[in-house]
Structure formats: C-alpha cells, structure tokens
C-alpha cells in the first residue's frame, strides 16, 4: 500500500487522517517495519493482507480512543507500535487455517495453555478438559450459521496472545463455575438474634445507611476496585498489586486511604443530614449487623458510565 501525500502532512499538523473508516491507510515505513518484525510471510500472509489485518484491528478499537474520536497519524502510529504484531499475524494465520501456523502454535502454546488451565481450575483433569475444549474452539470446530467460528479472530493484538489465551480460559472457567454454582443447594444459615439492649435507634440507622451509600457511590473506580477486590473477593494485597501493576505496599496505602476517605465522607453525610458531630461519631459505632447495607450489591450496582454507554449502544 503506497503512502499518500496527505499522510505526511497529517503527521506534521496533527490533523486527523480519518475516522477509522476504510479510507484509513498505513504509513509505508511503519508497515515495512512491522512487516519485517513479524513472521507474517512465514505464515502465508501477503503484505496487503498483513496491512489489512492491522487496519482492521485499529479501526475496531478506534486506535484506543473513545468512540466518535478521530485518531491522528501519530496516534495511529502509537497504536500500531503498541500492538503485538507477531502474535496477531500468527493468530490470524491460524484462524485462516495455515498449517505451518498451527504447527507453530501447538509447539509454542499447547503446553502453556494446558498448564494455565490446570492452574486456573486447580485440577489437572478439569484443566486438561478446559484446555482441550478451548483448543477445539480455536481450531474452528464450532460452526455457527454455517461458518466456522474461530475465537482467534477476536484477538486484536492489544496484549500478548498467551495472555489472551489465559484470560479466555479464565472467562470460560468462571462462567462455567457460576452456572454450576446456581445449581448447588444453599446452606441453611441461622442469623443470630439481635441484642435488644444495643440496638441503635432506627432513625440513626437509616441515616447511617444512606450516608454509606452516598460515600461508596462517590468513590472513584480504583477505590471501588480496591474495596471490592479486598473485602468482597478477599484477594490479597499481592494479588491486587499484580493486577494493577503496582507493589502490594502501594495497594495497602491506597486501600487505607480509601477507607479513611469513606469514613470521613460518611461523617460528613451524617452531619449534612442533620446529626451533630458527636451523634454522628456515636452512630459510626453501630453494630454492622444492625445495618441493612449490602456492600457487594452497592458496589456492583455502581455501573461505570463507559460500559453503560456501550451497553446502550
């Protein structure tokens, strides 16, 4: 694909070169660099097919930009340079049924895929079953609407292919677990009777519940994620840190700060609702069992706007 004259000027001026539409072109120099950096030719892909795969991946994600935003040449270059081009070429070649690509895929990813499945399920048998099931799907044995469906087509190279495979395995395992969990009988639980002497007045409890809901809803995404991962999922600080890419000490500090801010916000909300500061502090000492606050429900009902918009569209 030959470079266009407007491409150079767009780079210099920062003027958007397109809107992610099919008229988007790939810079020839960048295309050469990416072409030589992967084994696309080895997997039977032509230069044009390779460029088209990159453009499809970019336009499908709008080059990492929000919807209705046009990416500049520079942003496109940045997006393309951030792609795992070799993995993307291999995945597309496998999805097309290239034998050499499949041989390479099996040689490189089969055993790690099985080990990842075993680690996710915690059982070798379940892990192998899970890995074999995914492998069958990847090979395109499933057919929908008369066409073979290969999950590898959904891979766009934003992360590594191995990470995508692990996440896919985890998704399938969690979905399967959640489906089967609903069929399990619920253990009977006898809640202890509340102590009548320590009961807080109902009005104060109501104000407290309202203040908590307001405080939690006012937390940002990272604070809610920390609270959910730590208190609901009972993940360790180390596990949370690995997910966020930060040290566990950082997670601890952020978590402590989040809980402190929520406590202050609850006091403010109580005072705002007509309680004195001393009464608000006494209300903070109420027995949590007296509260009818479902933190899990509260957190998970706080749907992020982006995905709400995406769901609406």
């Amino acid at each position: 694909m030959a470079p266009t004259e407007s491409a150079g000027s767009a780079d210099e001026t920062g003027i958007p070169s397109g809107t992610g539409a099919p008229d988007c072109v790939l810079d020839s120099a960048l295309a050469d660099e990416l072409w030589h950096g992967c084994d696309a030719a080895r997997w039977g892909l032509t230069r044009d097919e390779f460029e088209q795969i990159l453009l499809d991946a970019g336009t499908a994600q709008n080059f990492g930009l929000p919807e209705a935003t046009t990416a500049t040449r520079s942003q496109e270059k940045t997006f393309f340079r951030g792609l795992c081009v070799a993995d993307l070429a291999l995945a597309r070649a496998c999805a097309r049924g290239n034998e050499r690509a499949w041989e390479h895929f099996l040689a490189v990813y089969r055993q790690p895929l099985t080990r990842a499945a075993i680690a996710i399920t915690g059982s070798e048998t379940l892990g192998r079953d899970l890995a074999d099931q995914l492998y069958a799907e990847l090979y395109g044995l499933s057919v929908r609407d008369g066409q073979r469906r290969c999950p590898l087509l959904s891979y766009r190279g934003r992360g590594s292919l191995m990470g995508w495979l692990r996440t896919t395995l985890a998704q399938r395992h969690v979905d399967h677990y959640r489906r089967t969990r609903r069929e399990e009988p619920i253990e009977e639980f006898d809640a202890p009777a509340p102590d009548p002497l320590s009961q807080t007045p109902a009005r104060e409890l109501s104000l407290l519940e309202q203040a908590i809901e307001q405080a939690v809803s006012g937390c940002d995404a990272e604070e809610r994620f920390l609270l959910a991962a730590y208190y609901l999922d009972e993940q360790t600080l180390l596990e949370i840190g690995r997910v966020l890419g930060v040290h566990e000490a950082t997670v601890s500090r952020r978590l402590h700060r989040a809980t402190g801010q929520i406590r202050k916000q609850i006091l403010k909300n109580l005072e705002r609702n007509g309680m004195s500061r001393r009464a608000a502090q006494e209300a903070m000492g109420a027995d949590p069992r007296d509260l009818e606050v479902n933190l899990k429900k509260l957190l998970q009902n706080s749907q992020s706007e982006a995905f709400q918009e995406q769901a609406a569209s």
Partner: protein, 425 residues
C-alpha cells in the same frame, strides 16, 4: 466488548488481558478498572488469569534453570577452580620457600653446631689411608671408614705434625657412634647432611683458624659419650701414633746405616751373644730417638711407659699363635703367644725373633718398667744439650732406662733390659 453477564457488557478477554499486562492507555485502563470495581466476575477472571500467568512464569523459570543446569554446573565449578588454583599456587610457593630456607639455614645450623667441628678433621690430619699405613697391623685392624675424615683431610701440612692427631678420633668414631647418642644428631643424618652440602668459604676459613683443641673438644662433645675422658685419651693416642710414625721412618733409615756398619748384624746374632749385641745396638736407638723428638726427654719415658701401644686385638706371631701380652718401646716390641713363647721385634712387628726360654713355668705377661732414677738421669742429659750421638758413644756405660718384666703363670718375675737376656727379679 461483549455482553455476557447480568451487568450487561463485560470487557472482552483481550481488554482484560491487556489490562493485566498494562498494555492499555489510561482511558481504557480506567474504564476496565471501573468495570472491575463493580464486576466480581471480571475481577475473578483477571485474578485467575494473573494466577495462571504466575504459575506459568514459575514453571518457565524452573524449566529454564533445568535447561541451564549443565552450564550452571560448569560455571559453578569454573568459579571454584579459580580460588582453588590460587590456594594451590600459594601452597606450592610456601613449600618451595620453606624448602629453600631449610636448605639455606640447614647448613648454617649444622655449621653452628659444629663450628669448631670443622676441626674434627683439621688440615694437618693425615688421611685414614695414611693412618692405616702408620699404625701397626694390630692397631689398624679396626676398620676405619674413610668417609668422614677423608673429605676434610685435604690440606695436610708437614709443619703441623705436632698438632693432635684427629684421625685417631675419626677412626674411633664409627665404634663410638654405635653407642646411642641422645643429644647429638644421628650419625647417618649428619653424614648425609654433610655430604649434601658444600661448606661455605667462611666456614672453611673458620675451620682453619679455629684452635685444634677447641675443635677436638667440640667434636668429642658431639660424638662421644658425656662425662668420658675420651678426647684426652684420643689425643694422646694420636700423639703416640704420630711418634710411632716418626720412629718408623727413622728406624728404617737407621737400619740402612747399621747394615753397612755391621751393628745390625750383631743384632741378628744368635741368642747366645745377645747380651753384647743388645748393649751395642739398643742404646744408640734409645739415645738418638729423644734427640729427634721436640718433646722433653723426661716426659718421653713416662709417656711410653703409660701408653704402651697395646693392640686392641691379639697379634699373630711367627708361632702361629696369637699374642697374649705385648710390651713395646718405640719400634722395640716383645710379645708372648698363647703357648708362653716370647718373641722380640725391633721393627714394630715386621720381623720377629724368638727368645729362648730363660724362666720357669709358662710366660703369661710381659711389661715395661722404668725406674724412677732412670728418668732423673736422662732428663739432665737432655737439658744439657746432650745429643743422642754423645750418649751413643757412652751407650755401654749408661744403663738403659727401660726394663722389661716378664711374669710366668706362677706370678714370678724376670727382668731384662734388651728383651733377650732375662734374669730373675
């Protein structure tokens, strides 16, 4: 994004994977994080994927270690070889330095021990070969190893003859060295060390400058038993040997002269005329000998009386029997064999003459005896400058100072001045 849960749309696997790998930009990251905050399912997916990734990394690291095991093994041993080689080199250097020092200091210590010891064999000492020639056959019978002495007896000087004769000491060393020596070094070691090292020039100079007496004393202290008077006896014995050598040489020249004058022929006369022959022949021999010796005459007689060179082993006499008693004076010797026969020799046992029996019973012992007045009479003569020649002229008038005594098995005694004529005492 795909909608697969009750919360509507979930981030797809790629977004979650990219989120875990920090591959999303900030906007995408916050979107995913906001969803993860409210979606337990996606949090669980991310957590499981992260756990699987950690397990895979651990497995890959273990496999990598296993793959690199041979290299690691070799690298470890290669690293171990370096300090090992350094330690080995240091040890080798230390050992070599120690050996070199011991070789360097060993002779010094040895020399320090024997510093006067070089004089164990002073330059004036004759070699054992010469010693064997000088000493009589009976005295030379004990084998004298030539090793220790022969090496140092390389600068014998005639003018140093009066010095004590260390060869005697050296000749006696083997027999004495058989006695265990608790303090001194082992003889074998001493000989080996001495044979190995080359004496430095300084030690050789010291050897020549050191007084012989001191050398003898130190040498005897290191080789003889403590508390014994062996050095003095050895010194005197060596002096006796030296005198014997001088006398032998003079006796030979005297025989040559007397052969022409016919005096010696009288000596060879039958026993019947022995008295005249002795009175003629013996005095010149006795008178001339003190004049040639540097030592004073009075001491000569006493010394000869005390130091009868009695052979350590029996002498073989012309009768075929071994001697049981020997008495001598210079080259003049009397010997009794086991059968009681008396033999006389005027050349220190080279030729023997049997003396007719003039006593009763069986002779068992012969001794030398000097009268006290004999020495007193001889001393003034020597002090007045009386030479052997002058006394030789009046040899018949002055009685011989030495008497020989012969004892039989009945403890009876006969005396004689020439060894040929015996009279009851």
């Amino acid at each position: 994004m795909t909608a697969t849960s009750q919360h509507g749309f979930h981030p797809d696997a790629e977004s979650l994977s990219a989120f875990s790998e920090q591959a999303l930009n900030e906007r995408e990251r916050m979107e995913v994080l906001a969803h993860l905050a409210v979606c337990g399912r996606c949090r669980q997916v991310v957590a499981l994927a992260r756990e699987a990734a950690d397990a895979g990394e651990v497995t890959a690291a273990a496999r990598l270690r296993k793959t690199n095991a041979p290299d690691s093994w070799w690298k470890q041993w290669r690293l171990v070889w370096v300090p090992t080689a350094v330690v080995a080199a240091f040890a080798a250097a230390s050992i070599s330095v120690y050996i070199e020092r011991s070789d360097r200091h060993g002779p010094d210590i040895k020399i320090a021990e024997q510093n006067p010891a070089p004089s164990a064999t002073p330059p004036s000492a004759p070699t054992p070969t010469e010693q064997a020639k000088v000493e009589p056959p009976a005295a030379a019978a004990p084998a004298t190893p030539p090793t220790h002495t022969a090496k140092h007896a390389h600068s014998a000087a005639p003018e140093q003859l009066p010095a004590p004769a260390p060869p005697v000491v050296a000749a006696q060393m083997p027999s004495e060295s058989e006695v265990p020596e608790p303090r001194g070094p082992a003889p074998g070691v001493a000989h080996r060390q001495e044979a190995m090292r080359e004496p430095p020039p300084m030690s050789r100079a010291d050897e020549q400058q050191s007084p012989p007496q001191l050398a003898m004393g130190n040498h005897s202290s290191s080789y003889s038993q403590p508390g014994s008077s062996a050095p003095e006896a050895q010194q005197e014995q060596a002096e006796e040997h030296r005198h014997a050598e001088v006398e032998t040489s003079r006796m030979r020249s005297f025989k040559a002269k007397s052969a022409t004058s016919g005096v010696h022929g009288a000596n060879a006369a039958p026993p019947g005329g022995a008295t005249e022959a002795v009175t003629v022949a013996a005095p010149p021999q006795l008178e001339t000998q003190p004049a040639a010796l540097p030592e004073p005459a009075p001491m000569l007689g006493l010394k000869h009386v005390r130091n009868v060179p009695t052979p350590a082993e029996p002498m073989q006499l012309p009768s075929g029997l071994a001697s049981v008693s020997i008495a001598s004076r210079g080259h003049f010797m009397l010997a009794i064999d086991k059968a009681g026969a008396l033999f006389l020799s005027e050349d220190r046992g080279v030729t023997w003459e049997r003396i007719t029996t003039q006593w009763t019973g069986r002779a068992v012992a012969v001794h030398r005896h000097v009268a006290a007045n004999d020495a007193m009479q001889t001393a003034p003569a020597a002090q007045n400058g009386t030479t052997g020649d002058s006394s030789a002229g009046s040899g018949a008038a002055s009685p011989p100072p030495v008497l020989f005594e012969l004892s039989n098995d009945k403890n009876q005694t006969w005396v004689s001045t020439d060894g040929r004529t015996w009279t009851p005492e």
